[in-house]
Amino acid sequence: MKAVLQIALGIIAAIGGFVDIGDLVFNSQAGAVFGYELMWAVPIGVLGIGLYAEMCGRVAAVTKRPVFDVIRMRMGLTTGLIVLVASLFVNLLTVAAEIGGVGLLLQLFFDAPFTLFALLGALALATIIWFVPFEGLERLFGYAGLALFVFVAAALYLGPDWHSVARGFVPEAKSSTLYWYFVVGLVAAALMPYEVYFYSSGAVEERWGPGDLRVNRLNAVIGYGIGGLLSLGIMVSAAQLFAPAGVSPDHLGTVPLLAQVPFGETGLLLALLGMLFAIGGAAVDASFAGAYSIAQFAGWEWGKYRRASGAPRFTLAWLLFFALGLIVLMTGIDPLDLTEYSVVLSVVALPLTYLPVLLIARDRTFMGDHVNGAIAGSLGWVYFVVLVVVAVVAIPLLLATNAGAG
């Protein structure tokens, strides 16, 4: 019985931890601008992250190798360095965007200058990381993130036109570049590599073995699957509330209206709380992912379960990410612009971090009989092609639509 509870608790945390500032921004804007038309893009991103995370979790459980260890082992030093530099840069943008999000939300709660709150938010997150053990960390942010289900409730409460919702799941080719920009953004927002660095390093940190493969699959399928539901909830409610009224969610503060309008103050509080912890959790995950990447690349001691003294350079690295994230914010860049850049640029580096994992996951020397099955094998390659296409069109679309401003 305890095992089932343990698994369920882990999955629930994964659901709560799925949404970050990128999902909030892209899904609310996509709903506001294109109504239900872009819903088909969400499952593509969610299936992608589920597949990728399952493979990374399996590789970590069987070979005890987290993602960046695999990248370095399989792609060698030169490619490894290129991927490291690219992912650290994108990771920094993500940390800055997430801390910015935390600052904005704290401001909406308590109404004081943004910069003060970004600083306070970062300090609070850093102290939480310092004291709360690894498992507790995931649970804390994951459970509070579940408050985001208020958007799913809002979507249902506002009574969507189910016919056009269904039609929205059918991919449709449209000529507008903004449409395709949002397709890339929605897929990329779901497929943020830092989530996978954190997930696979966590699997090693929690000493997963082949016995944990079932939990790994459940996490990937249910955790990310239901997590994707949150994204759809945001898009559908935005399609019902923002699209007809002509509201354009250019600020994070606009998103909570989706819950305030149908459910009043309770809805507003749940939305703000859920967003604060989802984005706060993402800031922690992203800064850890950055520290994991450097430490695993260079071969240092790493991991949160080894007290800070046991992994000095690793601890310095994630504190550094927080500090640099704050500095990027102090330049005054709007956190939402940062979010769009971090989401779109992260998909450009994704094929390079996805391929080595796929290569090892299908390599019997390392995986023994836990090698990719038929589904994971074929789907794995289908997704590699999808990722390469998305990576190639991402930057041109970003420029053509000047980051979605249309």
Binding site: R74, G76, L359, I360, D363, T365, F366
Partner: protein, 91 residues
Amino acid sequence: MSAGVIKLSRLLELRVEAEDGTPVGRVHDVRVRRVDGRYEVEGLIVGPRGLLVRLGWRRARQRDVLAWKDVMAVDPDRLVVRRANSSARRM
């Protein structure tokens, strides 16, 4: 020639050519075998197929391995081998 130190990174960088100058390709991996307690280089995995092997896409078969015995000289910028290796001819 006195026994000198050769770094693996250097082997991976050198062009491999047969005695008569025909190019054989690049060294992608170095196969070692345990011989009475020490690991000796048995051969070099060379040629385009070698890259696939290194990426874990294909397994290196014995005939892809160019025996170290056939290596005549390790020059500053190339590796000279006694005869064109079978896999090289197939390229």
